[in-house]
Symmetry: C3
Subunit: 165 residues, 3 copies
């Protein structure tokens, strides 16, 4: 990992981080969008970006949310104006590579592959890429995303990118 | 997970559960169908169901086996009347979310993606979905499936669904 | 696993093995080909073979490297004569099944699925298969591949197989 940091040898902490990543994916798979903002700190950041754009150091994302409030707005918009063709996601997550950053947060990098299934049954490998996360332990012991950057392999961003990844 | 239950913090137990899920997948990948019933308790249940049918609470499955005896019959039928086009599976499993149920069994939910390769080399993402398992520790310490429910994302069930998933 | 050997219950060792497999995949995903030979012992072996050929016990591989020197040569050739259409890989790895062999090395079997993305954005499930690894602990404590056999599900080997898998 290019962002350095100390290795994390604590297997119980690793298991908790992996459960966070997994619960997030399962919530999206279940269509439980209301749960999505709760995985982030109140000032948490979420951004989807193409790999090309990420590697060029460009700031713009395909989808960007600054703070859980903006995420809640987005969920509300999706639930009220659902003009999209119904579909579901199924996430497969790779093992995360973990590092402890100097500020006490945990950096995680993990690959993902999302299969999308349309209502009539058509299925495709919709999105492949990596999550680059900054995870912040909370005062109550819970783990939340301070930042989740979704880097998509393809710059062909499907116009059907409706749900968060 | 909606089925509740206590968290499982025992990392050695988790590793044994993950090896069970993995050995099952590798056995199917290897075409070792004879091994398949042995992953279940004698009264174990196996069912493949579409997500649509599962979420509607419908009982019918695409494939259902009540007990390891019915599974052995099915394997025998496959081995004697193999009228299908030869193909192989390759399973990719997601990390399982684990819970300890009140009855002492372990509940596991894990996503999967199965790539199917036909004899002449054609390859496709054949099945995506989740395993919902009830795993029962046996008197000899081994872990077996008391129930394995395979929930497929797509309701387009390919007529070439020959092997168990 | 058919190659026998003793189970590995050491979870810290398992984590180190999984990080090795992961770092290898991330390096290829990142296009950091220069790092590739360093994952192997100096006399390490690398071979890509179709499943059909592997199961028939045939010796020939689609790509074969005997020793890290041959790998460095291959990387150099790729970097100087890159006449291929630019593309990237994204690996999803399954959990490895681990065994300790009698000679002290670790045998690992893990499934993989590689999504390939071409420069213009086209994405496909490029390669599915399994890694059959022999991992040798080094005097300095590091883990390296003494042998990495890549068994591809499909015998349709794409002429665009440029990078190692």
């Amino acid at each position: 990992m290019s962002d350095g940091g100390a290795a994390i040898d604590d297997l119980a902490l690793r298991a908790r981080v992996e459960d966070l990543l997994l619960d997030y994916a399962h919530a999206i798979d279940d269509g439980a969008l209301q749960a999505w903002p709760g995985f982030f700190t109140e000032d948490g950041r979420y951004k989807i970006q193409s790999r090309e754009s990420y590697e060029a150091g460009l700031p713009m994302g395909v989808m960007t949310c600054e703070g859980a409030g903006m995420m809640r707005d987005r969920v509300l918009a999706l639930e009220t104006a659902n003009i999209y063709e119904p579909h579901t996601y199924s996430h497969i997550l790779g093992r995360p590579r973990l590092r402890r950053a100097a500020d006490g947060t945990i950096r995680a990098r993990s690959n993902f592959l999302v299969t999308r299934t349309m209502q009539e049954g058509r299925m495709d490998a919709f999105a492949a890429g990596k999550y680059l996360d900054r995870i912040a332990p909370q005062p109550n012991g819970a783990l939340k995303f301070a930042e989740r950057l979704v880097v998509l392999e393809s710059r062909r961003i499907d116009i059907l990118l409706v749900f968060p990844l």
